[in-house]
Protein backbone atom coordinates (compact mmCIF):
# COMPACT_ATOMS: atom_id res chain seq x y z
CA UNK A 1 0.00 0.00 0.00
CA UNK A 2 2.81 2.41 0.85
CA UNK A 3 4.52 1.38 -2.34
CA UNK A 4 1.53 2.47 -4.30
CA UNK A 5 1.44 5.76 -2.42
CA UNK A 6 5.07 6.26 -3.35
CA UNK A 7 4.28 5.54 -7.00
CA UNK A 8 1.47 8.02 -6.90
CA UNK A 9 3.70 10.72 -5.48
CA UNK A 10 6.29 10.20 -8.20
CA UNK A 11 3.57 10.41 -10.80
CA UNK A 12 2.13 13.54 -9.21
CA UNK A 13 5.59 15.12 -9.13
CA UNK A 14 5.97 14.73 -12.87
CA UNK A 15 2.50 16.15 -13.37
CA UNK A 16 3.52 19.11 -11.25
CA UNK A 17 6.66 19.89 -13.24
CA UNK A 18 4.69 19.51 -16.45
CA UNK A 19 1.82 21.66 -15.28
CA UNK A 20 3.29 24.37 -13.08
CA UNK A 21 4.70 26.30 -16.03
CA UNK A 22 1.23 26.41 -17.50
CA UNK A 23 -0.30 27.67 -14.30
CA UNK A 24 2.21 30.51 -14.00
CA UNK A 25 1.82 31.63 -17.60
CA UNK A 26 -1.92 31.37 -17.24
CA UNK A 27 -1.91 33.41 -14.07
CA UNK A 28 0.55 35.96 -15.34
CA UNK A 29 -0.64 36.51 -18.86
CA UNK A 30 -4.18 35.31 -18.42
CA UNK A 31 -3.42 33.20 -21.42
CA UNK A 32 -4.84 29.74 -21.93
CA UNK A 33 -1.95 27.95 -23.57
CA UNK A 34 -3.20 24.52 -24.53
CA UNK A 35 0.00 24.07 -26.50
CA UNK A 36 1.90 23.71 -23.26
CA UNK A 37 2.11 19.98 -23.86
CA UNK A 38 3.87 20.62 -27.14
CA UNK A 39 6.79 22.13 -25.20
CA UNK A 40 6.81 19.10 -22.96
CA UNK A 41 6.91 16.89 -26.03
CA UNK A 42 9.74 18.97 -27.46
CA UNK A 43 11.74 18.45 -24.29
CA UNK A 44 11.06 14.74 -24.44
CA UNK A 45 12.21 14.43 -28.04
CA UNK A 46 15.28 16.53 -27.41
CA UNK A 47 16.24 14.20 -24.58
CA UNK A 48 15.62 11.15 -26.76
CA UNK A 49 17.68 12.56 -29.61
CA UNK A 50 20.47 13.70 -27.34
CA UNK A 51 20.77 10.21 -25.94
CA UNK A 52 20.26 8.25 -29.13
CA UNK A 53 22.06 10.37 -31.68
CA UNK A 54 24.62 12.23 -29.62
CA UNK A 55 25.14 9.48 -27.11
CA UNK A 56 24.82 11.86 -24.19
CA UNK A 57 24.15 10.39 -20.75
CA UNK A 58 20.65 10.68 -19.33
CA UNK A 59 21.58 13.31 -16.76
CA UNK A 60 23.13 15.56 -19.38
CA UNK A 61 20.12 15.31 -21.64
CA UNK A 62 17.77 16.64 -18.96
CA UNK A 63 19.16 20.21 -18.87
CA UNK A 64 19.31 20.09 -22.63
CA UNK A 65 15.60 19.30 -22.73
CA UNK A 66 14.96 22.24 -20.42
CA UNK A 67 17.07 24.64 -22.47
CA UNK A 68 15.68 23.61 -25.83
CA UNK A 69 12.07 23.98 -24.68
CA UNK A 70 12.84 27.29 -22.97
CA UNK A 71 14.56 28.65 -26.05
CA UNK A 72 11.77 27.68 -28.38
CA UNK A 73 9.35 29.06 -25.81
CA UNK A 74 11.00 32.46 -25.74
CA UNK A 75 11.21 32.67 -29.52
CA UNK A 76 7.59 31.72 -30.00
CA UNK A 77 6.52 34.09 -27.25
CA UNK A 78 8.24 36.97 -29.02
CA UNK A 79 7.02 36.07 -32.45
CA UNK A 80 3.50 34.76 -32.24
CA UNK A 81 2.23 34.54 -28.68
CA UNK A 82 2.48 38.21 -27.87
CA UNK A 83 -0.32 39.42 -30.15
CA UNK A 84 -2.60 36.82 -28.55
CA UNK A 85 -2.54 38.28 -25.04
CA UNK A 86 -5.17 40.85 -25.82
CA UNK A 87 -7.51 38.46 -27.60
CA UNK A 88 -10.40 36.59 -26.04
CA UNK A 89 -9.93 33.31 -24.18
CA UNK A 90 -11.68 31.53 -26.93
CA UNK A 91 -9.28 32.83 -29.56
CA UNK A 92 -6.40 31.80 -27.37
CA UNK A 93 -7.81 28.32 -27.02
CA UNK A 94 -8.22 28.03 -30.77
CA UNK A 95 -4.80 29.43 -31.44
CA UNK A 96 -3.07 27.04 -29.10
CA UNK A 97 -5.07 24.06 -30.33
CA UNK A 98 -3.83 25.01 -33.80
CA UNK A 99 -0.28 24.96 -32.47
CA UNK A 100 -0.88 21.56 -30.91
CA UNK A 101 -2.12 20.17 -34.21
CA UNK A 102 0.93 21.51 -35.99
CA UNK A 103 3.23 20.12 -33.33
CA UNK A 104 1.59 16.70 -33.49
CA UNK A 105 1.68 16.44 -37.28
CA UNK A 106 5.12 18.02 -37.53
CA UNK A 107 6.61 15.63 -35.00
CA UNK A 108 4.97 12.74 -36.75
CA UNK A 109 6.59 13.84 -40.00
CA UNK A 110 10.02 14.41 -38.50
CA UNK A 111 10.24 11.59 -36.02
CA UNK A 112 7.67 9.05 -37.07
CA UNK A 113 4.60 8.04 -35.15
CA UNK A 114 6.12 5.32 -33.01
CA UNK A 115 6.76 5.47 -29.29
CA UNK A 116 10.14 6.82 -28.33
CA UNK A 117 12.28 5.29 -25.65
CA UNK A 118 15.31 6.10 -23.63
CA UNK A 119 17.65 3.81 -21.82
CA UNK A 120 18.18 4.75 -18.25
CA UNK A 121 21.60 4.39 -16.71
CA UNK A 122 21.93 1.24 -14.62
CA UNK A 123 21.94 3.06 -11.31
CA UNK A 124 18.41 4.32 -12.01
CA UNK A 125 16.99 0.94 -12.94
CA UNK A 126 15.34 -1.57 -10.70
CA UNK A 127 14.22 -1.11 -7.17
CA UNK A 128 15.13 -1.70 -3.57
CA UNK A 129 13.14 -2.31 -0.43
CA UNK A 130 13.04 -0.23 2.70
CA UNK A 131 11.00 -1.65 5.57
CA UNK A 132 8.92 -3.71 3.21
CA UNK A 133 8.17 -0.84 0.87
CA UNK A 134 9.33 -1.41 -2.66
CA UNK A 135 10.94 1.72 -4.00
CA UNK A 136 11.71 2.15 -7.67
CA UNK A 137 15.02 3.89 -8.13
CA UNK A 138 13.85 5.97 -11.01
CA UNK A 139 10.73 7.04 -9.19
CA UNK A 140 12.82 8.05 -6.24
CA UNK A 141 15.05 10.03 -8.58
CA UNK A 142 11.99 11.77 -10.04
CA UNK A 143 10.67 12.61 -6.60
CA UNK A 144 14.00 14.05 -5.49
CA UNK A 145 14.52 16.12 -8.64
CA UNK A 146 10.97 17.42 -8.78
CA UNK A 147 10.89 18.00 -5.04
CA UNK A 148 14.00 20.13 -5.24
CA UNK A 149 12.53 21.97 -8.18
CA UNK A 150 9.30 22.65 -6.33
CA UNK A 151 11.15 23.96 -3.28
CA UNK A 152 13.41 26.21 -5.33
CA UNK A 153 10.49 27.47 -7.38
CA UNK A 154 8.57 28.28 -4.23
CA UNK A 155 11.65 30.02 -2.85
CA UNK A 156 12.19 31.93 -6.08
CA UNK A 157 8.57 32.90 -6.24
CA UNK A 158 8.32 34.22 -2.69
CA UNK A 159 11.84 35.35 -1.78
CA UNK A 160 13.56 36.82 -4.82
CA UNK A 161 13.08 40.15 -6.51
CA UNK A 162 12.06 38.36 -9.68
CA UNK A 163 9.45 36.49 -7.69
CA UNK A 164 7.99 39.54 -6.03
CA UNK A 165 7.81 41.36 -9.34
CA UNK A 166 6.19 38.34 -10.85
CA UNK A 167 3.61 38.18 -8.12
CA UNK A 168 2.91 41.87 -8.51
CA UNK A 169 2.44 41.42 -12.24
CA UNK A 170 0.16 38.42 -11.75
CA UNK A 171 -1.99 40.47 -9.41
CA UNK A 172 -2.33 43.40 -11.74
CA UNK A 173 -0.18 43.86 -14.79
CA UNK A 174 -1.24 47.48 -15.27
CA UNK A 175 -0.31 48.56 -11.79
CA UNK A 176 2.96 46.63 -12.02
CA UNK A 177 3.80 48.44 -15.24
CA UNK A 178 3.06 51.71 -13.51
CA UNK A 179 5.53 50.77 -10.79
CA UNK A 180 8.24 50.45 -13.38
CA UNK A 181 8.32 46.67 -13.55
CA UNK A 182 9.33 45.58 -17.07
CA UNK A 183 6.25 43.43 -17.50
CA UNK A 184 6.99 42.43 -21.09
CA UNK A 185 10.40 41.09 -20.22
CA UNK A 186 8.91 39.38 -17.23
CA UNK A 187 6.37 37.73 -19.49
CA UNK A 188 9.04 36.45 -21.84
CA UNK A 189 11.18 35.15 -19.00
CA UNK A 190 8.30 33.44 -17.29
CA UNK A 191 7.15 31.92 -20.51
CA UNK A 192 10.63 30.58 -21.13
CA UNK A 193 10.81 29.21 -17.63
CA UNK A 194 7.38 27.60 -17.90
CA UNK A 195 8.18 26.04 -21.26
CA UNK A 196 11.54 24.88 -20.04
CA UNK A 197 9.95 23.19 -17.03
CA UNK A 198 7.47 21.53 -19.34
CA UNK A 199 10.38 20.32 -21.46
CA UNK A 200 12.11 18.95 -18.42
CA UNK A 201 8.91 17.29 -17.28
CA UNK A 202 8.49 15.79 -20.73
CA UNK A 203 11.96 14.32 -20.56
CA UNK A 204 11.49 13.00 -17.02
CA UNK A 205 8.10 11.61 -17.92
CA UNK A 206 9.19 9.47 -20.86
CA UNK A 207 9.74 6.55 -18.56
CA UNK A 208 6.43 6.98 -16.77
CA UNK A 209 4.04 8.16 -19.46
CA UNK A 210 5.72 7.39 -22.75
CA UNK A 211 6.37 9.71 -25.64
CA UNK A 212 4.86 9.82 -29.09
CA UNK A 213 3.57 12.60 -31.35
CA UNK A 214 0.13 12.59 -29.77
CA UNK A 215 1.59 13.43 -26.37
CA UNK A 216 0.31 17.05 -26.27
CA UNK A 217 -3.23 15.91 -26.99
CA UNK A 218 -3.19 12.94 -24.66
CA UNK A 219 -1.93 14.87 -21.68
CA UNK A 220 -3.55 18.24 -22.30
CA UNK A 221 -6.36 17.17 -20.05
CA UNK A 222 -4.03 16.27 -17.21
CA UNK A 223 -2.21 19.62 -17.32
CA UNK A 224 -5.45 21.49 -17.41
CA UNK A 225 -6.77 19.60 -14.45
CA UNK A 226 -3.67 20.47 -12.46
CA UNK A 227 -4.03 24.12 -13.34
CA UNK A 228 -7.74 24.52 -12.90
CA UNK A 229 -7.80 22.62 -9.67
CA UNK A 230 -4.63 24.18 -8.33
CA UNK A 231 -5.42 27.73 -9.28
CA UNK A 232 -3.04 30.03 -11.06
CA UNK A 233 -1.72 32.33 -8.43
CA UNK A 234 0.83 30.27 -6.55
CA UNK A 235 3.25 27.40 -6.75
CA UNK A 236 1.75 25.52 -3.85
CA UNK A 237 -1.72 25.30 -5.43
CA UNK A 238 -0.66 23.38 -8.54
CA UNK A 239 1.76 21.37 -6.43
CA UNK A 240 -0.89 20.02 -4.13
CA UNK A 241 -3.32 19.61 -6.98
CA UNK A 242 -0.77 17.53 -8.90
CA UNK A 243 -0.03 15.45 -5.82
CA UNK A 244 -3.69 14.91 -5.15
CA UNK A 245 -4.38 13.87 -8.73
CA UNK A 246 -1.33 11.67 -8.98
CA UNK A 247 -2.04 9.87 -5.74
CA UNK A 248 -5.79 9.65 -6.27
CA UNK A 249 -5.33 8.32 -9.77
CA UNK A 250 -2.77 5.69 -8.88
CA UNK A 251 -4.27 4.61 -5.57
CA UNK A 252 -7.78 4.66 -6.99
CA UNK A 253 -6.82 2.44 -9.88
CA UNK A 254 -5.05 0.11 -7.52
CA UNK A 255 -7.95 -0.26 -5.11
CA UNK A 256 -10.87 -0.24 -7.53
CA UNK A 257 -9.55 -0.80 -11.04
CA UNK A 258 -13.13 -1.16 -12.34
CA UNK A 259 -13.77 2.55 -12.00
CA UNK A 260 -10.18 3.55 -12.60
CA UNK A 261 -10.95 5.62 -15.64
CA UNK A 262 -13.47 7.82 -13.90
CA UNK A 263 -11.58 8.79 -10.82
CA UNK A 264 -9.65 11.81 -11.96
CA UNK A 265 -12.44 13.23 -14.07
CA UNK A 266 -14.94 12.83 -11.28
CA UNK A 267 -12.48 14.33 -8.84
CA UNK A 268 -11.94 17.28 -11.14
CA UNK A 269 -15.64 17.96 -11.59
CA UNK A 270 -16.33 17.70 -7.89
CA UNK A 271 -13.43 19.97 -6.99
CA UNK A 272 -14.38 22.52 -9.56
CA UNK A 273 -17.95 22.61 -8.40
CA UNK A 274 -17.07 23.00 -4.77
CA UNK A 275 -14.07 25.27 -5.33
CA UNK A 276 -14.67 26.97 -8.67
CA UNK A 277 -11.58 29.15 -8.38
CA UNK A 278 -9.15 26.42 -7.50
CA UNK A 279 -8.17 24.61 -4.37
CA UNK A 280 -6.05 27.30 -2.82
CA UNK A 281 -7.20 30.39 -4.64
CA UNK A 282 -7.31 33.65 -2.80
CA UNK A 283 -10.69 35.29 -2.87
CA UNK A 284 -10.74 37.81 -5.64
CA UNK A 285 -13.26 40.60 -6.06
Amino acid sequence: MLTILFDGIAYGMVLFVLGCGLSVTMGLMNFVNLAHGAFAMLGGYVAVLAMQRLGLPFLASLPLAFLAAALVGVVLERLIYRPMYTKSHLDQVMFSIGLVFMAVAGTDWLMGSTQQFIRLPDWLQGRFEVAGIGIGRYRLFVIVVCGLLAVSLQWGFTRTRFGSRLRAAVDDARVARGLGIPVNRLFALTFALGSGLAGLGGALGIELMGLDPTFPLKFMIYFLIVVTVGGTSSITGPFFAAMLLGVADVVGKYLVPQVGAFIIYALMVVLLITRPHGLFARARA
Binding site: V104, A261, M268
Partner: protein
Protein backbone atom coordinates in the same frame (compact mmCIF):
# COMPACT_ATOMS: atom_id res chain seq x y z
CA UNK B 1 -41.19 62.95 -32.75
CA UNK B 2 -44.76 62.15 -31.87
CA UNK B 3 -45.57 58.94 -30.08
CA UNK B 4 -47.33 57.08 -32.92
CA UNK B 5 -44.47 57.89 -35.28
CA UNK B 6 -41.91 56.71 -32.77
CA UNK B 7 -43.86 53.55 -32.05
CA UNK B 8 -43.88 52.74 -35.72
CA UNK B 9 -40.17 53.31 -35.90
CA UNK B 10 -39.61 51.11 -32.85
CA UNK B 11 -41.65 48.37 -34.46
CA UNK B 12 -39.72 48.67 -37.68
CA UNK B 13 -36.40 48.62 -35.89
CA UNK B 14 -37.39 45.52 -33.91
CA UNK B 15 -38.69 43.88 -37.06
CA UNK B 16 -35.53 44.69 -39.00
CA UNK B 17 -33.42 42.35 -36.92
CA UNK B 18 -35.59 39.33 -37.68
CA UNK B 19 -36.39 40.12 -41.28
CA UNK B 20 -35.21 37.54 -43.82
CA UNK B 21 -32.17 38.86 -45.59
CA UNK B 22 -31.99 37.97 -49.30
CA UNK B 23 -28.63 36.35 -48.71
CA UNK B 24 -30.28 33.98 -46.24
CA UNK B 25 -32.81 32.87 -48.81
CA UNK B 26 -30.04 32.35 -51.34
CA UNK B 27 -28.11 30.34 -48.75
CA UNK B 28 -30.92 27.88 -48.14
CA UNK B 29 -31.80 27.61 -51.82
CA UNK B 30 -28.18 26.70 -52.50
CA UNK B 31 -28.21 24.19 -49.66
CA UNK B 32 -31.14 22.36 -51.19
CA UNK B 33 -29.84 22.82 -54.72
CA UNK B 34 -26.59 21.16 -53.66
CA UNK B 35 -28.54 17.91 -53.80
CA UNK B 36 -28.75 18.25 -57.57
CA UNK B 37 -25.49 20.11 -58.10
CA UNK B 38 -23.17 17.68 -56.34
CA UNK B 39 -24.69 14.20 -56.66
CA UNK B 40 -21.24 12.66 -56.10
CA UNK B 41 -20.71 14.35 -52.77
CA UNK B 42 -23.94 13.70 -50.94
CA UNK B 43 -22.20 11.82 -48.17
CA UNK B 44 -19.89 14.72 -47.49
CA UNK B 45 -22.84 17.09 -47.72
CA UNK B 46 -24.70 14.96 -45.21
CA UNK B 47 -21.77 15.17 -42.82
CA UNK B 48 -21.66 18.92 -43.33
CA UNK B 49 -25.35 19.24 -42.55
CA UNK B 50 -24.94 17.24 -39.35
CA UNK B 51 -21.86 19.17 -38.28
CA UNK B 52 -23.72 22.39 -39.07
CA UNK B 53 -26.56 21.36 -36.77
CA UNK B 54 -24.07 20.46 -34.08
CA UNK B 55 -22.37 23.84 -34.52
CA UNK B 56 -25.72 25.60 -34.44
CA UNK B 57 -26.26 24.01 -31.07
CA UNK B 58 -22.96 25.34 -29.76
CA UNK B 59 -23.72 28.76 -31.21
CA UNK B 60 -26.91 28.89 -29.16
CA UNK B 61 -24.97 28.66 -25.92
CA UNK B 62 -21.69 30.24 -26.94
CA UNK B 63 -22.75 32.92 -29.36
CA UNK B 64 -26.01 33.87 -27.69
CA UNK B 65 -25.49 33.08 -24.04
CA UNK B 66 -21.70 33.22 -23.70
CA UNK B 67 -21.28 29.73 -22.25
CA UNK B 68 -18.04 28.18 -23.45
CA UNK B 69 -17.88 24.41 -23.68
CA UNK B 70 -15.20 21.89 -24.51
CA UNK B 71 -17.51 18.97 -23.89
CA UNK B 72 -20.36 19.44 -26.29
CA UNK B 73 -19.68 15.98 -27.70
CA UNK B 74 -21.39 14.61 -24.59
CA UNK B 75 -24.74 15.62 -26.05
CA UNK B 76 -23.89 14.49 -29.55
CA UNK B 77 -22.99 11.09 -28.18
CA UNK B 78 -26.05 10.93 -25.97
CA UNK B 79 -28.29 11.66 -28.93
CA UNK B 80 -26.48 9.18 -31.15
CA UNK B 81 -26.64 6.33 -28.65
CA UNK B 82 -30.26 7.05 -27.73
CA UNK B 83 -31.33 7.07 -31.37
CA UNK B 84 -29.21 4.05 -32.19
CA UNK B 85 -30.47 1.97 -29.29
CA UNK B 86 -34.06 2.93 -29.99
CA UNK B 87 -33.70 1.85 -33.61
CA UNK B 88 -32.06 -1.38 -32.61
CA UNK B 89 -34.40 -2.44 -29.84
CA UNK B 90 -37.70 -0.58 -30.16
CA UNK B 91 -38.63 1.09 -33.40
CA UNK B 92 -36.75 1.82 -36.60
CA UNK B 93 -38.74 4.94 -37.39
CA UNK B 94 -36.34 7.84 -38.00
CA UNK B 95 -38.50 10.52 -36.40
CA UNK B 96 -39.00 8.51 -33.23
CA UNK B 97 -35.24 8.15 -33.04
CA UNK B 98 -34.74 11.85 -33.63
CA UNK B 99 -37.09 12.72 -30.80
CA UNK B 100 -35.49 10.15 -28.53
CA UNK B 101 -32.05 11.57 -29.26
CA UNK B 102 -33.18 15.10 -28.59
CA UNK B 103 -35.00 14.08 -25.45
CA UNK B 104 -32.14 12.10 -23.97
CA UNK B 105 -29.56 14.77 -24.74
CA UNK B 106 -31.87 17.52 -23.52
CA UNK B 107 -32.38 15.68 -20.26
CA UNK B 108 -28.63 15.34 -19.85
CA UNK B 109 -28.30 19.04 -20.56
CA UNK B 110 -30.91 19.90 -17.97
CA UNK B 111 -29.27 17.71 -15.35
CA UNK B 112 -25.78 19.04 -15.99
CA UNK B 113 -26.79 22.67 -16.45
CA UNK B 114 -26.27 23.62 -12.79
CA UNK B 115 -22.61 22.70 -13.29
CA UNK B 116 -22.01 25.32 -15.95
CA UNK B 117 -23.89 28.16 -14.28
CA UNK B 118 -21.09 29.11 -11.97
CA UNK B 119 -17.42 29.85 -12.32
CA UNK B 120 -15.22 31.43 -14.91
CA UNK B 121 -14.82 30.51 -18.54
CA UNK B 122 -11.93 28.28 -17.65
CA UNK B 123 -13.92 26.39 -15.02
CA UNK B 124 -16.71 25.92 -17.52
CA UNK B 125 -14.33 24.60 -20.14
CA UNK B 126 -12.97 22.10 -17.66
CA UNK B 127 -16.30 21.00 -16.24
CA UNK B 128 -17.86 20.43 -19.64
CA UNK B 129 -14.75 18.57 -20.67
CA UNK B 130 -14.93 16.45 -17.54
CA UNK B 131 -18.58 15.57 -18.10
CA UNK B 132 -17.84 14.49 -21.67
CA UNK B 133 -14.89 12.37 -20.57
CA UNK B 134 -16.93 10.67 -17.88
CA UNK B 135 -19.63 9.91 -20.44
CA UNK B 136 -17.02 8.49 -22.77
CA UNK B 137 -15.76 6.15 -20.10
CA UNK B 138 -19.31 5.17 -19.18
CA UNK B 139 -20.12 4.31 -22.78
CA UNK B 140 -16.95 2.24 -22.92
CA UNK B 141 -17.76 0.46 -19.66
CA UNK B 142 -21.34 -0.44 -20.53
CA UNK B 143 -20.20 -2.29 -23.60
CA UNK B 144 -23.06 -4.78 -23.43
CA UNK B 145 -25.41 -1.91 -24.14
CA UNK B 146 -23.28 0.34 -26.32
CA UNK B 147 -20.97 -2.13 -27.98
CA UNK B 148 -18.03 -0.42 -26.30
CA UNK B 149 -15.04 0.19 -28.51
CA UNK B 150 -16.51 -1.99 -31.26
CA UNK B 151 -19.31 0.47 -31.75
CA UNK B 152 -23.05 -0.05 -31.76
CA UNK B 153 -23.75 -2.48 -34.58
CA UNK B 154 -26.82 -3.57 -36.39
CA UNK B 155 -28.87 -0.40 -36.58
CA UNK B 156 -31.42 -0.77 -39.37
CA UNK B 157 -33.51 2.29 -40.16
CA UNK B 158 -37.01 2.25 -41.57
CA UNK B 159 -37.66 4.55 -44.54
CA UNK B 160 -38.24 8.22 -43.74
CA UNK B 161 -42.02 8.86 -43.63
CA UNK B 162 -42.32 5.26 -44.74
CA UNK B 163 -41.35 6.30 -48.26
CA UNK B 164 -37.67 7.10 -48.62
CA UNK B 165 -35.20 4.36 -47.87
CA UNK B 166 -31.68 5.26 -46.79
CA UNK B 167 -29.63 4.49 -49.90
CA UNK B 168 -25.93 3.93 -50.36
CA UNK B 169 -25.55 7.16 -52.33
CA UNK B 170 -26.70 9.23 -49.39
CA UNK B 171 -29.62 10.84 -51.24
CA UNK B 172 -32.18 10.26 -48.54
CA UNK B 173 -29.59 10.87 -45.88
CA UNK B 174 -28.72 14.34 -47.13
CA UNK B 175 -32.27 15.49 -47.72
CA UNK B 176 -33.35 14.11 -44.37
CA UNK B 177 -30.50 15.73 -42.47
CA UNK B 178 -30.84 19.00 -44.34
CA UNK B 179 -34.57 19.13 -43.68
CA UNK B 180 -34.09 18.51 -39.99
CA UNK B 181 -31.35 21.14 -39.94
CA UNK B 182 -33.58 23.64 -41.72
CA UNK B 183 -36.50 23.03 -39.42
CA UNK B 184 -34.44 23.31 -36.28
CA UNK B 185 -32.73 26.37 -37.72
CA UNK B 186 -36.10 28.05 -38.23
CA UNK B 187 -36.99 27.34 -34.63
CA UNK B 188 -33.62 28.60 -33.41
CA UNK B 189 -34.07 31.73 -35.48
CA UNK B 190 -37.39 32.45 -33.83
CA UNK B 191 -35.99 31.75 -30.42
CA UNK B 192 -33.04 34.10 -30.70
CA UNK B 193 -35.30 36.92 -31.87
CA UNK B 194 -37.82 36.38 -29.10
CA UNK B 195 -37.84 38.09 -25.70
CA UNK B 196 -36.15 34.94 -24.40
CA UNK B 197 -33.37 35.29 -26.96
CA UNK B 198 -32.97 38.96 -26.11
CA UNK B 199 -32.55 38.09 -22.46
CA UNK B 200 -29.83 35.57 -23.37
CA UNK B 201 -27.90 38.25 -25.21
CA UNK B 202 -28.34 40.45 -22.18
CA UNK B 203 -26.80 37.80 -19.93
CA UNK B 204 -23.95 37.29 -22.37
CA UNK B 205 -23.22 41.01 -22.60
CA UNK B 206 -23.43 41.73 -18.92
CA UNK B 207 -24.79 39.27 -16.37
CA UNK B 208 -24.72 41.87 -13.61
CA UNK B 209 -26.97 44.25 -15.49
CA UNK B 210 -29.15 41.42 -16.77
CA UNK B 211 -29.96 40.42 -13.20
CA UNK B 212 -30.51 44.06 -12.29
CA UNK B 213 -32.98 44.27 -15.18
CA UNK B 214 -35.06 41.45 -13.76
CA UNK B 215 -33.63 38.58 -15.79
CA UNK B 216 -33.39 35.33 -13.82
CA UNK B 217 -29.95 34.51 -15.25
CA UNK B 218 -29.58 30.98 -13.97
CA UNK B 219 -32.94 29.79 -15.14
CA UNK B 220 -32.51 31.27 -18.62
CA UNK B 221 -29.03 29.80 -18.99
CA UNK B 222 -30.27 26.41 -17.85
CA UNK B 223 -33.09 26.64 -20.39
CA UNK B 224 -30.85 27.49 -23.32
CA UNK B 225 -28.28 24.91 -22.24
CA UNK B 226 -31.01 22.29 -22.31
CA UNK B 227 -32.23 23.49 -25.69
CA UNK B 228 -28.71 23.43 -27.13
CA UNK B 229 -28.18 19.96 -25.69
CA UNK B 230 -31.33 18.78 -27.44
CA UNK B 231 -30.05 20.28 -30.70
CA UNK B 232 -26.73 18.50 -30.31
CA UNK B 233 -28.71 15.35 -29.54
CA UNK B 234 -30.58 15.80 -32.81
CA UNK B 235 -27.25 16.04 -34.63
CA UNK B 236 -26.16 12.86 -32.89
CA UNK B 237 -29.39 11.11 -33.84
CA UNK B 238 -28.94 12.12 -37.48
CA UNK B 239 -25.39 10.82 -37.37
CA UNK B 240 -26.48 7.48 -35.94
CA UNK B 241 -29.36 7.12 -38.37
CA UNK B 242 -27.63 8.12 -41.58
CA UNK B 243 -24.50 6.09 -40.87
CA UNK B 244 -26.46 3.34 -39.11
CA UNK B 245 -23.60 2.99 -36.71
CA UNK B 246 -22.46 4.60 -33.48
CA UNK B 247 -18.89 4.46 -32.26
CA UNK B 248 -17.30 5.73 -29.07
CA UNK B 249 -15.73 8.38 -31.22
CA UNK B 250 -18.93 10.46 -31.04
CA UNK B 251 -18.02 11.21 -27.45
CA UNK B 252 -14.37 11.90 -28.05
CA UNK B 253 -12.61 15.11 -27.13
CA UNK B 254 -11.68 15.93 -30.69
CA UNK B 255 -15.37 16.24 -31.57
CA UNK B 256 -15.76 19.04 -29.08
CA UNK B 257 -12.50 20.68 -30.11
CA UNK B 258 -13.30 20.50 -33.81
CA UNK B 259 -16.68 21.99 -33.07
CA UNK B 260 -15.10 24.99 -31.43
CA UNK B 261 -12.93 25.44 -34.48
CA UNK B 262 -15.97 25.29 -36.72
CA UNK B 263 -17.69 28.02 -34.79
CA UNK B 264 -14.58 30.15 -34.58
CA UNK B 265 -14.08 29.90 -38.31
CA UNK B 266 -17.67 30.84 -39.04
CA UNK B 267 -18.03 33.36 -36.25
CA UNK B 268 -20.38 32.99 -33.29
CA UNK B 269 -23.58 34.79 -32.47
CA UNK B 270 -25.43 35.08 -35.77
CA UNK B 271 -26.66 31.51 -36.32
CA UNK B 272 -25.04 31.21 -39.74
CA UNK B 273 -21.58 31.08 -38.23
CA UNK B 274 -21.90 27.41 -37.38
CA UNK B 275 -23.31 26.58 -40.79
CA UNK B 276 -20.66 28.46 -42.73
CA UNK B 277 -17.95 27.18 -40.42
CA UNK B 278 -19.13 23.60 -40.93
CA UNK B 279 -18.97 23.99 -44.69
CA UNK B 280 -15.53 25.58 -44.58
CA UNK B 281 -14.17 23.08 -42.08
CA UNK B 282 -15.35 19.97 -43.88
CA UNK B 283 -14.32 21.19 -47.31
CA UNK B 284 -10.94 22.19 -46.01
CA UNK B 285 -10.51 18.86 -44.27
CA UNK B 286 -11.56 16.98 -47.36
CA UNK B 287 -9.35 19.05 -49.63
CA UNK B 288 -6.26 18.84 -47.48
CA UNK B 289 -6.82 15.18 -46.74
CA UNK B 290 -6.92 14.37 -50.44
CA UNK B 291 -3.61 16.17 -50.97
CA UNK B 292 -1.73 14.85 -47.97
CA UNK B 293 -3.60 12.13 -46.14
CA UNK B 294 -0.85 11.96 -43.54
CA UNK B 295 -0.50 15.54 -42.52
CA UNK B 296 -3.79 17.31 -42.88
CA UNK B 297 -3.72 17.95 -39.19
CA UNK B 298 -0.70 20.16 -39.68
CA UNK B 299 -2.44 22.30 -42.26
CA UNK B 300 -5.58 22.57 -40.21
CA UNK B 301 -3.41 23.70 -37.32
CA UNK B 302 -1.57 26.24 -39.43
CA UNK B 303 -4.83 27.51 -40.79
CA UNK B 304 -6.16 28.01 -37.28
CA UNK B 305 -3.09 29.83 -36.07
CA UNK B 306 -3.06 32.18 -39.03
CA UNK B 307 -6.79 32.60 -38.77
CA UNK B 308 -6.68 33.75 -35.18
CA UNK B 309 -3.54 35.82 -35.72
CA UNK B 310 -5.26 38.02 -38.24
CA UNK B 311 -6.88 36.13 -41.05
CA UNK B 312 -10.31 36.23 -39.52
CA UNK B 313 -10.84 39.92 -40.13
CA UNK B 314 -9.92 39.36 -43.75
CA UNK B 315 -12.25 36.43 -44.26
CA UNK B 316 -15.16 37.93 -42.39
CA UNK B 317 -14.60 41.19 -44.21
CA UNK B 318 -14.85 39.36 -47.50
CA UNK B 319 -17.98 37.53 -46.38
CA UNK B 320 -19.60 40.76 -45.28
CA UNK B 321 -18.73 42.47 -48.55
CA UNK B 322 -20.21 39.54 -50.45
CA UNK B 323 -23.34 39.60 -48.31
CA UNK B 324 -23.71 43.31 -48.87
CA UNK B 325 -23.45 42.82 -52.61
CA UNK B 326 -26.07 40.09 -52.38
CA UNK B 327 -28.30 42.41 -50.43
CA UNK B 328 -28.01 45.09 -53.05
CA UNK B 329 -28.68 42.58 -55.77
CA UNK B 330 -31.66 41.29 -53.84
CA UNK B 331 -33.10 44.73 -53.38
CA UNK B 332 -32.48 45.56 -57.01
CA UNK B 333 -34.36 42.47 -58.03
CA UNK B 334 -37.22 43.24 -55.71
CA UNK B 335 -37.72 46.61 -57.34
Amino acid sequence: MTMPVLETRVRQALFASRRWHPAEIVFWCLAFAAFLLFPRNLLLLNEIAILALFALSLDLILGYAGIVSLGHAAFLGMGAYAAGLLAKHVTADPFAGLLAGMGAAGLLGLVTSPLVLRGTDLTRLMITLGVALILYELANSFSTLTGGADGLQGIMMAPVLGLFDFDIFGRTAYLYSLSVLFLLFLIARRVVHSPFGLSLRAIRDNPLRAAASGVPNDRRLAAVYTLAAAYAGAAGALLAQTTQFVSLDVLDFHRSADLMLVLIIGGAGYLYGGLIGAIAFKLLQDLIASFTPQYWMFWIGLFLVLFVLGGREMIHGAVKAAAARFARLGKGAAR
